[in-house]
């Protein structure tokens, strides 16, 4: 609840990332925009249709089936004739098979988040809200969700809270920095990220660059690894000497570590891509490489053919 006396308007059609330290009020601001919380003073005016936080898995009743829950949310949002369409859309997107007709309390957290994501995307909102804390799921499904969302850009925009700078860069054009109870608007998300870091300690992460060949990808991976190690060391050091090094708060270091980890994954993926490409030219070696992990055998083979 750090923010006080904010006065800002977010233009329509622009995707915005909310940045700030832990406790700066990012999530609270998002909840206020979404209408889940009410401000102590002042008001929130929504000029367009705003979603609940995407992928929110808490809004389900455990004793009822997925279908019944979807029906409930559709009814709340005033769907009468479209209700069957919405159910069909969510069912096909969530792709959880027969579990759709079983009580939610039997679901795994992955299944829950699939259903929650499908549900958010079945409605035609102008603005979608996304809070990182509520977004879970395996990598494969995250990819699917982000593709589904990208297909909607142009008609809808996004207001998101995320600690992953890569995600913010990918989805947002503009940024809002919450710092010491005030909000700053940036037309460019990149500028917002830089301002966020300089508000902290002047640390600036490198801008990501797409490698063109295997060597470059490998070099990027090595760099990312080094960066990751450095970030971990910094975090460990901060943990050891708790109060003395208050210059950089521990959570900032933790996000930095997360960000570095994300980049290592990205770099590793790119190296794999290049190796696979090379391997296919040489022979059937690329087939041995394990592809996506948790998919069924027939899907895996379909994937291998396509790539």
């Amino acid at each position: 609840m750090g923010a006080r006396g904010l006065n800002l308007s977010i233009p329509a059609g622009v995707s915005v990332g909310l940045l700030g330290r832990n406790g700066a009020g990012k999530s609270t601001l998002l909840r206020l925009i979404g209408g889940m919380d009410t401000p102590d003073r002042g008001e929130i005016v929504r000029a367009s249709r705003v979603s609940w936080p995407i992928g929110l898995a808490g809004g389900f009743q455990g004793s009822m089936t997925g279908r019944q829950n979807v029906k409930f949310v559709a009814r709340i949002h005033g769907a009468n004739d479209e209700i069957e369409e919405i159910i069909a859309a969510v069912e096909s997107f969530a792709d959880i098979g027969r579990a759709f007709d079983e009580p939610i309390k039997t679901y795994s957290s992955g299944m829950r988040s699939r259903l929650a994501f499908g549900l958010s995307l079945a409605f035609d909102f102008d603005v979608y809200l996304s809070d990182e804390a509520t977004a879970v799921g395996d990598r494969h499904f995250k990819q699917k969700a982000s593709e589904a969302f990208k297909a909607r850009i142009g008609r809808a925009s996004l207001i998101m809270v995320s600690h992953g700078e890569g995600v913010l860069r990918e989805f947002c054009q503009a940024g809002i920095l919450l710092d010491r109870g005030r909000a700053f608007w940036f037309d460019e998300i990149e500028a917002a990220i830089e301002a966020y870091h300089s508000a902290g300690d002047g640390y600036a992460p490198p801008r990501p660059a797409a490698p063109r060949n295997l060597e470059e990808a490998k070099r990027a991976l090595a760099e990312a690894n080094a960066r990751f190690d450095a970030a971990r060391e910094a975090l460990d050091a901060a943990g050891d000497s708790a109060a003395e090094t208050a210059a950089i708060p521990e959570e900032t270091l933790r996000w930095r570590l997360d960000d570095a980890r994300e980049r290592v994954h990205e770099a590793r993926r790119q190296v794999q891509q290049f190796t696979a490409r090379k391997g296919r030219k040489g022979g059937p070696r690329g087939q041995e490489r394990p592809t996506a992990n948790n998919t069924s055998p027939d899907k895996t083979s379909a994937k291998a053919k396509r790539s």
Binding site: T38, G58, S63, M64, H77, E82, A122, F125
Partner: protein, 271 residues
């Protein structure tokens, strides 16, 4: 896969009244399903539980008070009417007490307000109880228990009054019980004394004269006795039974409950 996901216009801009109506409808369907279907024996217990309570009460009375007659009414129908009327009030109040807590997850959808959960529960509870009462009347009549009301319209009005009283109590209690958990506990404890002091089991006419005035402070006594007067043609009761008094309580509680819901809406949603 992503392309097959056509967004569907569901969330067009709507007026406040339309939003409230669709929330009520959605909540009603949800509550109705979870009340009747979620439990395997849901339907059975809904009918059997009041039957069992009536059976126990009637046999207790038969054991301890055989011979003491109620003027103008058979004691089984007399007790059924009392228990049903009291049950209507009590269930409305007690179901409302847990309504907000049970639906916390739903406040993520900003359309759903804490007051909606209480209103819908009370409505559903009243509908179920009315259905049950009608069924008892029919079955009782077939078994020749004389369970057909003498003045159906009068019974209906009294029934609705008791419902309104329960609704008001539910609205008030739901807020207070959520803000102060101990309050809910106290309300639960007060259930039994309230049953004894409402003339459900012991006829108010048996009360010693000096205590009758105190008994008449309880609005439930007015509702239940008035309903029995409308039910049984020759039934006699206290002279001071007054439905205006009950409605004074009902409207006050409704107003208080709604006020509390407006005042504490944010607090009720929050935790």
């Amino acid at each position: 896969m992503a392309d097959s996901m056509l967004p569907i216009a569901g969330a067009r801009s709507r007026g406040a009244w339309r939003v409230a109506r669709s929330v009520w409808f959605a909540m009603f369907m949800r509550e109705a399903i979870s009340r009747t279907m979620a439990d395997r024996m849901g339907w059975f217990w809904m009918i059997f539980e009041p039957l069992a309570i009536i059976g126990v009460m009637v046999s207790i009375r038969g054991l301890f008070m055989s011979g003491s007659e109620i003027s103008g009414a058979d004691h089984v129908p007399w007790m059924i009417v009392g228990l049903m009327g009291f049950g209507l009030f009590r269930e409305n109040m007690m179901r409302a007490l847990g309504a907000i807590d049970a639906n916390k997850g739903l406040f993520a959808y900003r359309q759903v307000k804490p007051v909606d959960t209480v209103l819908v529960r009370c409505f559903l509870e009243g509908m179920l109880k009315s259905f049950l009462f009608l069924m008892f009347m029919l079955i009782g009549d077939l078994l020749q228990f004389e369970l057909m009301p003498d003045h159906p319209l009068g019974v209906l009005l009294d029934w609705l009054s008791l419902w309104a009283l329960g609704w008001g109590a539910g609205l008030t209690v739901s807020v207070l019980g959520d803000l102060v958990p101990e309050f809910g506990r106290v309300v639960r404890i007060l259930n039994l004394p309230l049953l004894l002091l409402s003339g459900v089991i012991l006829p108010v006419m048996y009360m010693p004269y000096p205590y009758r005035d105190y008994l008449l402070w309880n609005p439930l006594v007015h509702g239940l006795e008035s309903m029995r007067v409308a039910f049984f043609p020759g039934y006699h009761t206290l002279n001071d039974i007054d439905m205006t008094y009950l409605w004074f309580w009902a409207l006050s509680l409704l107003a208080l409950g709604l006020l509390l819901h407006i005042r504490f809406a944010a607090r009720l949603k929050a935790h």
